[in-house]
């Protein structure tokens, strides 16, 4: 017959054995850590839409927050050169599905991710900015201007800058931004095209400010040396 004291000892012995097991388990698994990737895997379109639970904007903001802090969570500080920009590109476009009006993603792409030390990756940012902006150039023209800057000065790719500058020739875009298209052509040595763009801006713009007109005159005269041609053309038409 088990006495009360025996029962007490057996129970405490059992507890001691189990605690020892737990300590042993902890010792064996203490260095097992989750594999933390920098840029998380990109979910599918259908999964994203299912997970919104009817509130696209809420989930968009959650994922934006998630992406903004990707790689810098749980005590990590990751240099931008280690980020997978292909994955980031797909994330940017996926989030535009939830909210293409917001400027959060293009800001993040332009002012943060484009500062990567691995300059080749900036191509992904430019490609994204082009897709994002051409949905609605009249409100998103600023990001095309940023894309031109990144193409010309970071990537030094004038062909890419040319492609990105074309949608800016639009009378809903401010005159100075439209002039960027002419500047790109001037940088490529395509002076006649640059002149044609300036003339298009002058003819179609609803309202050109004085400073923009002055810049156009300076550009045509000093940068592409075509002021005489315009003056002669103007005299002939009279």
């Amino acid at each position: 017959m088990i006495t009360r004291a025996n029962k007490f000892i057996r129970l405490h012995l059992l507890l001691a054995v189990l605690v020892a097991l737990q300590l042993g388990y902890w010792y064996k698994t203490k260095d097992v850590a989750p594999e933390m990737e920098i840029v998380p895997a990109v979910p599918g379109r259908e999964v994203i839409h299912a997970m919104t639970f009817g509130d696209d904007q809420f989930y968009f903001r959650v994922l934006t927050f998630y992406l903004q802090n990707a790689g810098d969570t749980f005590g990590r500080f990751t240099p931008l050169r280690d980020y997978n920009f292909n994955k980031l590109y797909h994330w940017f476009n996926l989030l535009d599905e939830l909210d293409a009006k917001s400027n959060s993603i293009p800001s993040m792409a332009t002012y943060y991710f484009a500062q990567t030390q691995n300059t080749k990756d900036v191509r992904y940012v430019v490609d994204y900015l082009y897709i994002h902006s051409t949905r609605d150039v009249s409100t998103k023209w600023w990001w095309l201007v940023q894309a031109i800057y990144l193409s010309l000065h970071k990537l030094e790719d004038k062909d890419l800058a040319l492609k990105v500058s074309k949608p800016l020739i639009n009378d809903t875009v401010p005159a100075w931004a439209q002039q960027m298209a002419a500047i790109v052509r001037e940088k490529r040595g395509e002076f006649d095209d640059a002149l044609r763009i300036m003339e298009t801006i002058r003819d179609n713009a609803k309202n050109i400010e004085d400073k923009d007109l002055k810049y156009m005159e300076y550009f045509v005269k000093e940068r592409i040396g075509k002021l005489d041609k315009i003056t002669a053309k103007h005299k002939d038409s009279k």
Partner: protein, 252 residues
């Protein structure tokens, strides 16, 4: 009826429902403001989205738990029997419970709307439509919780069933989209397509309610408020009718 409504109000006060949900909403808003302040740009938009989404979730969850447990305890303690021993019809009882819980829900919703307004209104038309949709969603969830609580025997089962209905109803847009997608059009997926369509006919379209984008960008069109208003005015009476029919046939 008024007595029952007053009793529900007293129970809500006794259970610290108002204080609990209000504190929960304040904490959620504070966390939203902290997270929103870390955004690169559009801090207010992020704060508004987080606060409105989390507050809505807290409100609906709190109401579901409160209603399901209240009704089940009323059955278990024979309170329902006592009420029915008076000249109160079963239909009147269901309606009085609905009105009572809706009133409590309204008292809980008003501070949430005020908190969102205090964060800052970016678009007044959108804010008004969002506030109205939250109130209607609250009433619909009250109806859903009542139906679950009256038809199921256990409080926990009622809560789980109601939450399941809520989640699936919120995902209804996705289910409808899937039922129209190309893959499901194939004959071998016919059962799957019919199942999705059957589910979408009997559950409400809660994805039309409480969209945070209204707070930020305003309305896209009049359909934004028309859809959820029509859904609420059709489905709430439907739920109440189903509850009344089940309750009338119940032997206890």
């Amino acid at each position: 009826m008024r007595t029952n409504i007053r009793y529900i109000l007293i129970t809500a006060l006794r259970d610290w429902l108002f204080i609990g949900l209000f504190i929960g909403t304040l904490v959620a808003t504070a966390i939203s403001a902290t997270l929103g302040s870390t955004a690169l740009i559009e801090e207010k938009e992020m704060t508004l989205s987080f606060a409105s989404g989390s507050a809505r979730l807290i409100l609906m969850t709190g109401l579901i738990v409160f209603i399901c447990f209240h009704i089940r305890s009323a059955f278990d303690s024979k309170e329902i029997d006592v009420i029915l021993s008076r000249p109160v019809s079963r239909i009147n009882l269901v309606i009085s419970y609905f009105l009572g819980f809706s009133f409590v829900g309204l008292l809980l919703t008003i501070p949430i709307i005020a908190i969102i307004a205090a964060i800052g209104v970016l678009n007044w038309a959108g804010f008004a439509v969002w506030a109205a949709s939250i109130i209607l969603e609250m009433a619909l969830v009250v109806g859903l919780a009542l139906f679950s609580a009256f038809t199921l025997r256990s409080a926990v089962t009622s809560v789980l069933a109601c939450m399941g209905f809520y989640v699936v109803s919120r995902m209804m847009a996705f289910l409808v989209f899937t039922s129209h997608s190309g893959m499901v059009a194939e004959p071998k997926f016919a059962i799957f397509r019919w199942a999705l369509q059957a589910i979408s006919t009997v559950l409400p379209r809660l994805d039309f309610f409480g969209k945070s984008e209204w707070l930020i960008y305003g309305l896209k069109s009049a359909q934004d408020w028309q859809f959820y208003t029509a859904q609420a005015f059709i489905f709430i009476p439907l739920l109440l009718a189903a509850t009344m029919i089940d309750f009338k046939n119940k032997q206890f």
